[in-house]
Symmetry: C2
Subunit: 505 residues, 2 copies
């Protein structure tokens, strides 16, 4: 049945059709296709790409023969059919990321995915040479997720012109929010594809309040069409995540709470692949209710990262803290923590069962700041975050689970996480010269290392007898009197140390 056309699984099969270009095809023309494999049929929305061209993009999630037929309220676009063969994915193509093991993620092919993201909110609106520089930087860093807005950004340090208007001008010369600008979206999706080719998930921010163009003030109907259009254009990119907003609560004056649920629903209706979906708060007290079934994972802004287990408990989903404050030195306190502190917060988050996001906000004479514009990294945290990612990817499969909750001794003070016999204890601001709590209760054949999270060193640990604290009563409980682990580990007595225990290889 296939006519020789092939596309690899989780890549994009695209149908291009010619149709009417007059009136407003964005609003008036309905287009979709049914993609079928055996008895299975998937409804896929299409979109108008300007110049009389219509497109339908499909991401096959299974190998083998697929066929399609189009549907439209325009006869010239309807009833087009064809077939193609989905081939095995090539190296590096693991499919879209899904939630796995309740609090963690994996690619569709089963490869674990541990988010270590950063932000370049408006990078696709910078000059093209700077965008190339951003991609070159990302190629050499170890980030595997990038938060990026569709809309340009109007904000302190972000006053330059947008590369493209997101909507075309209407007859009155003003942007017409019912006419998406194909140039803008073609560029945006090209950069989503460039990230995909670097192995980076594009965490696409659909709305944000940093606006002088009117994008934050579109009508509800315009918003709904815009969200559906994004889904039709971009959902076939396997590296897409949907972030409904950055700091949604600063948009509540124009987009009331119930409207946010509707955006999620529109994505569910129009994204055949059900990419990950979440939403990011501004005020720490304004976490979205991530328990809602249309939210796939928790996305929050919160500097108080020792609370990570609390958010896991509250929402029962993976926790991605996408703004635990940024490394930098600008005047805003969300953007001026030290590199040491941001690396510390990454370790604290990961060692309490969550994931964190990086951003970098160092003053620059031309306001070329990574956090919003991309370009070059100037800080020190990104290397250490890459080191942490490498450590996690080396050993973890299902996801690190915290050893205790905030209230449980001693895990309110220090952090520990495990997966099977793999254990990490991160001591952070604590600097014992010997440690045992959380180490294995029974002796075994373990490789034990001391890791310096800042210096990025891994050193075989000196194992010693576990301390036997003098027994002392704590109410009806006696603590001490026996060791709480099979062995102890010597430590250098300085901050930012971790202990790793692995079964001997």
């Amino acid at each position: 049945m296939a006519d020789g056309t092939t596309v690899e699984k989780w890549d994009i099969f695209e149908i291009a059709l010619k149709g009417p270009a007059d009136s407003n095809p964005f609003v008036e023309i309905e287009l979709s296709a049914s993609f079928s494999q055996a008895n299975r049929s998937i409804a896929v929305p299409g979109f108008y790409d300007g110049d009389g061209t219509y497109r339908i993009r499909f991401m096959p999630d299974n190998e083998g023969s697929w066929s399609y037929v189009t549907h439209s309220n325009i006869p010239s676009l309807a009833g087009k059919s064809g077939a193609f063969e989905a081939t095995a994915p090539s190296a590096g193509n693991h499919g879209p990321v899904r939630v796995r093991n309740k609090f963690h993620f994996a690619y569709a092919d089963g490869t674990p995915y541990f988010p270590f993201g950063t932000t370049c909110y408006a990078w696709t609106h910078q000059p093209l040479d700077m965008q190339a520089e951003t991609l070159a930087t990302l190629k050499n860093a170890r980030f595997n997720k990038l938060r990026m807005g569709v809309f340009p950004k109007d904000y302190p340090f972000n006053v330059n012109a947008a590369l493209h208007a997101i909507f075309e001008a209407g007859p009155d010369g003003k942007q017409d929010f019912d006419r998406p600008n194909p140039l803008a979206f073609r560029h945006f999706e090209a950069q989503v594809g460039a990230l995909r080719d670097l192995g980076i998930e594009a965490d696409i921010i659909i709305f944000h309040p940093y606006d002088r163009w009117g994008y934050a003030n579109m009508s509800a109907a315009q918003d709904f069409r815009y969200v559906a259009y994004l889904a039709a254009r971009l959902a076939a990119y396997r590296n897409v995540w949907w972030s409904l907003a950055n700091e949604y609560d600063f948009l509540l004056d124009t987009k009331p709470m119930a409207q946010w649920d509707r955006y999620f629903h529109i994505l569910e209706e129009n994204d055949p692949y059900q990419h990950l979906k979440s939403i990011h708060n501004g005020e720490q007290s304004m976490n979205f209710d991530h328990r809602k079934p249309w939210v796939s994972h928790v996305c929050i802004q919160n500097w108080d990262v020792k609370r990570t287990p609390e958010w896991r408990d509250a929402y029962g989903k993976p926790v991605v803290n996408d703004e635990p404050e940024y490394e930098g030195n600008i005047v805003f306190p969300w953007g001026n923590i030290s590199a040491e502190e941001l690396v510390h917060r990454f370790w604290l988050t990961v060692m309490r069962g969550g994931y964190a996001g990086h951003g970098e906000t160092y003053m620059h004479p031309q306001d070329l700041i990574w956090w919003a514009k991309g370009g070059r990294l100037h800080g020190e945290a990104w290397k250490r975050i890459g080191f942490l990612r490498d450590l996690i990817e080396e050993d973890v499969s299902n996801g690190l689970e915290p050893m205790g909750h905030n209230s449980a001794w001693p895990w309110s003070r220090v952090s520990g996480a495990s997966e099977g016999d793999l254990r990490y204890i991160y001591l952070g601001e604590h600097q014992p010269v010997i440690w045992s709590t959380g180490l294995p209760l029974e002796g075994g054949d373990y490789d034990v290392d001391v890791i310096d999270a800042w210096k990025m060193t891994v050193t075989p640990a000196t194992k010693v007898a576990a301390p036997i604290p003098h027994p002392t009563r704590h109410g009806s409980v006696v603590r001490g009197g026996k060791a709480d682990a099979a062995f102890g580990v010597e430590l250098p007595g300085k901050p930012y140390q971790a202990i790793r225990v692995r079964p001997r290889r």
Copy 2:
């Protein structure tokens, strides 16, 4: 009326009487005195001091002539009368510390008192030469409060014998909890007096769970007599604070919750001067209900010191965080944070309207650790805490009030406090190269300094134009567009910096 005897105001006037020494005078004999000045009369309990000697101690709180008469169920102790003259306090005698301005403290003579305490829980139970060393160390440090237990301590690193049994042996050779050992108490109060002479408040811990002698298992009636005995012996020392317990919640198996209120009541009944009273928790979730009227101030153990404004709000009393974890390197996570981190927590606490306590827990080959035994300080935090105390005492009168609450921008992230035109902004882990938020809104004649909390330097600030952030909408609020202070301050772009603004002198 006075017979030539004088005592200075807030010092101790003592009546010593001879009476029966047989049977059990502690339990069987009632003794008190009424101290009168004009129409005012104060009931003061007495106590048995062994060897047939009975004492009544009185701390006059007003100058001039005082008279007294004793009362007892023993005729030979009753009806003794006399008089004395209370003279002006000498230099350094400011009287007892009281709560002032809701969240702060002052001596009775009006001198502000800002607690910068430390702990030597069992120092009075160490060998006498070590106790002398402790006092010598304290003389050269800048601590003005010391947490210290009446009972000896049985705990990891604290396994040596007690200097004195707290109770005398009964006929069966076992300690008789109805017979306080005068030797133990005479020594204890001598050391309370030695601290007084160094200008240090003695924060006396009445109960604690670290026990192998049975003190934690006395009956309720024995506890009640012990508390009353302490009040009778020690309340006349002006530098006494009552701390009902260290980690009271680890004693709930033998001392149920309602019993703790009764201890407070007994102090109220027996302490004529109503010294400060509080109680210290173990688990962070077990704060005592400090709203109770018999609790004068909040004493807590909590490492999460950015929450200080929350505790102020919850209890409406001065907050003293008497265990924000300790500088050291022992195996327990409450005792192994870095010096930098403890200094940071002191600044965070003070700059959010509270007070913090120091402790030092470095491993020592003979277990001679400051936190429990005193001796020598080995760390780095104590000097910086002294530096902070000096800064605060130089300028503050009523007490620093936080600039915002945890939820208010930007004071959840950075810390600021003010008293009138004096302002402090503590940036901690934040490292902006310029700052303005919280600085005066109107230009004025200010001395502005940049303080390095770790290096202990005070440097005149370079004032610059306050940044004018690009305006951006946050819902119905527009942020930016204008400066948020009359000027900005240049900063070195590294952690642990503070800005101080004072009216020009």
